[in-house]
Point group: C2
Chain length 547, copies 2
């Protein structure tokens, strides 16, 4: 380091002033600072920070005994239970790689992940024993399986080891190795990709640490925060919240299933202050029957992402006492990369305009170095005119290291110092980004671009409509026309096609009005996103039927 | 990087996923995200984030034209004005080193810093023109001086360049070099050391970035925060707040002098949400006459550090609508390293016990890797018994790189992976650290240790006492006895010595009661700390007088 300049002489990194960034440090700090504070609540179970550190230390010790070491993959399939939080600390303690699997995947997909990620150990929540057993039969290799017991179903165990038994027998004084290089891989997350094989997104310790600090700062987490687990933890490591809540010494409330009555009850019972979830979760809360709701007299901050919430969702959530903030990101960006920071002057706007502002993707997170909307050919930023469409690009320490064993896909996504999102957006004069569509979701009709999002927003304003998805339908005359798939609210009776068309006509330019309407439940991915590729296939079969 | 392991192959750092941490990125992000939001207020002056970035870019450009480049030192002596904030971004933009000088220093001390730090450029707030002119005459080297004009005193200019003129002529499209190594030196801060030459503490870009994020998270800063500059910005780079407020897109309100009437007026006028300051500032606010106070109807969060606030200060600050949190740290730790996080159960305690809890130094900050109270001989932690005294030690990315050109002092302070504080403390069962004294401030009387802090706390409970400082007085029989220096509240009449002794006796063990009482104003350092070394000298002269 020393090159003779006084500012580079005898001022090197040492053990006192340089510590590799890792989210594990949040737990050791919280356990030292707030040992007796409740860290995790799961039904009747309560773990203090002292106990959480003890359980994580024991899990790390037990995994080490099973042979897990540096860069070995530990897969876990579990709902949002304490063991899932524990894995987020214990596995990184060993310098191993955590691979949380999507609980809604089928056996073939699970098998693919286990094979591609070379899982050495798989921790299985008993609720998923059956599908995992099937998946394991498709893997031509022995994987060490650890069962998280489901007391009601002792037969669900499929492995050689029991989680609690392992912890009980483990060394509470175990000294884990940790890491020396903060760039070391920490987690592996398979994208739920709509086509082709899933891609394995790799996170680093450094990225996870910064993502947790940034999320905590942006969402206003503090020592008194009570965080409810409505977001699947397998999704982008729960957007870093297993770590972020620990960083501030807050409390995490577990939740096995997204069921509105239970969510309302837990919010009231524990005075939950923060929760995250896809708009679909907000939709469920908004449409929960009155008798399922429990009144609470405090404001709950809700972060949502994955798709822009329709104005109807903002409206109903506000009425229920939630303060909703819209985030945008992807698995490739550790979850949120932008946040639609609320501007005080929006309070002066009529509701619809206010909700439209709030539905934008917003601005870069504090720990994100830069976000731009740019022409992917020239990489030049588009003007901030709210009209010119470009691709959203992110540059950040919270951008993935790359896709595992997929150089080609990595090279297509991390380009010239930017992470390409594949999302098309405009840039507004006030700095906020607004998505117009996924590149592949834009509908081009008679040479005009139609944003499927814009049409969907109008459809969901219809009183009978809960969800809408609009895709392109090939058309001999126009090239493409918008085809709308509509899921109705529970109990709503199906409106006339003509009435819906008229509703759209009064709110949209003529060429944007859907030419086709299909009613029925919409197919969703395991993370709650509407699977437009399935709808496109449905459109194809529509053509066949009619041709 | 690639050693054949899949998790270390084709997953290297690149421009999209690795960005050296630097607080400059907070400004570019804020200017992109919140261009038209007010970033800085100074009297009638207002700068939006767009303007702040423009001014910083111009300043960087102008400094580059003056020859400032990588690792060159730019010193600045200024009160808490916008130019001081600008320097905190513009100088790091060039990879140069910012050296904020204490405005309360005399010419000899300023000259020492300019010589030792090899300042290439010195930016001078006109208010300090006179002392700086004298200091420059003591430096046998030409330093480029840039004047920040004071409109009321045009004659105060002492340099060749004018700040505003330079900015007006500068290139607004200047592309600064930035840094490629986040460990690069960013700032140089001379400690106000009580004896010997000042030491030059060196900060890195990485440390400053993490300190800003950690402070923002810990103090609850957000987009709506209005931060008032009651803390000198030359003190630990204003504890990183010039950067932290920008990280969240908040607003900074400048303040030239710590004058209670003005502070109250600014709090009410701008609805200030956060401010920091030494307990002496809180003391001034507490004792401001009623007619100087302006009522405000919101809660203001106040972070204080440098010494534990006496319970009387907590009490009066609460009554005025402030929520006080006590922090602990040093220049060597970028300011705060611990925070006395308020525990809800303390609300059940009687005021005195609650204030005693709140006066403790507390627990590690989220971005601090570890804090311990340990035996400096063995480096072993003391038990958490609230009794065993050890030295506070910190390990963190927010520990200084070291002292500039002072290997010996660095080696004495950064030892075995810890930054030694020189402060003696106990560790409580609940995880909180409580300072008993600076090692050199402990009074040993008849073999018993007396904490000067404990005696001072009792003295300040006396209705007539505003400040108290207790030092050791050599004593033939006891070795040392406590000697108390007392500054009375404005307008309070001097109490009887006997009455004060009796007051202490009813609240302290007999051997802890001061044997000597001296009334009068206390000498304070430029950062508001009481200068005990001067009191010790006074004690010596006391001996001479009496002997």
């Amino acid at each position: 380091m020393s090159n003779g300049h006084p500012f580079e002489t005898e001022l090197d990194r040492n053990g006192a002033n340089y510590v590799p960034l890792t989210p594990v440090s949040f737990l050791t700090r919280a356990a030292s600072a707030f040992a007796e504070k409740v860290a995790v609540i799961d039904g009747a179970r309560r773990y203090t920070y002292r106990q959480l550190l003890d359980r994580c230390t024991r899990l790390a010790s037990a995994l080490a005994k099973l042979g897990v070491g540096r860069l070995d993959t530990v897969a876990i399939i579990a709902s949002n239970i304490p063991e899932m939080i524990e894995a987020h600390f214990a596995v990184p303690m060993l310098g191993a790689v955590l691979n949380p699997l999507n609980t809604r995947l089928d056996a073939a997909n699970i098998a693919f992940s286990l094979k591609h990620g070379s899982a050495k150990v798989l921790i299985v929540d008993g609720d998923y024993g059956k599908v995992v057993r099937e998946a394991l039969s498709q893997v031509e290799r022995d994987i060490i399986v650890v069962d998280i017991a489901v007391p009601e179903e002792p037969a669900s165990a499929i492995g050689k080891y029991g989680y609690e038994e392992m912890l009980a027998a483990a060394d509470p004084a175990f000294t884990w190795t940790g890491i020396t290089d903060e760039w070391q891989s920490l987690a592996l997350l398979y994208t739920s990709g709509t086509t082709g094989d899933p891609k394995g997104v790799v996170y680093s310790h450094r990225g996870a640490y910064l993502s947790a600090l940034g999320n905590g700062l942006c969402f206003g987490l503090g020592f008194d925060s009570i965080y409810l687990w409505t977001l699947p933890m397998f999704h982008c490591c729960g957007w870093s919240y297993p770590w972020a809540v620990v960083a501030v010494g807050g409390t995490q409330v577990c939740l096995r299933k997204v069921e509105p009555p239970l969510i309302f009850r837990l919010i009231a019972e524990h005075r939950v202050t923060h929760l995250c979830g896809a708009p679909i979760v907000l939709n469920m809360l908004s449409h929960a029957p009155a008798e399922q709701r429990v009144r609470f007299d405090h404001v709950v901050s809700v972060a949502t992402g994955g798709a822009a919430p329709p104005s109807a969702v903002f409206r109903s959530m506000e009425a229920l006492g939630f303060r909703v903030v819209h985030l945008y990101g992807a698995t490739e960006t550790y979850g949120p990369a932008t946040s639609c920071v609320f501007q005080a002057e929006w309070n002066e706007l009529p509701d619809d305009q206010r909700f439209a502002r709030m539905a934008r993707q917003g601005v870069a997170y504090p720990m994100v170095d830069d976000v731009q909307v740019a022409d992917p050919k020239t990489m030049a930023s588009v003007p901030r005119d709210g009209e010119t469409v470009g691709e959203i690009m992110v540059r950040s320490n919270t951008v993935m290291k790359g896709y595992l064993k997929n150089k080609a896909a990595t090279a297509k996504t991390l380009v010239d110092g930017w992470c390409l999102s594949g999302d098309l957006a405009v840039w507004h004069a006030d700095g906020a980004i607004e998505i117009k569509d996924r590149s592949k979701d834009i509908i081009i009709s008679g040479g005009e671009n139609i944003s499927s999002l814009e049409v969907e927003e109008v459809l969901t304003q219809h009183p009978a409509v809960m969800l809408a998805a609009v895709v392109a339908r090939p058309d001999a005359k126009w090239g493409e026309t918008p085809c709308a798939f509509v899921e109705l609210k529970p109990g709503a009776s199906k409106p006339d096609d003509a009435e819906v068309f008229a509703f759209c006509k009064s709110r949209l330019a003529r060429f944007k009005v859907p030419k086709t309407l299909v009613f029925g439940p919409l197919p969703k991915t395991s993370t709650g996103k509407i699977q437009k590729f399935l709808l496109r296939e449905q459109v194809k079969s529509l053509e066949k039927t009619q041709s």
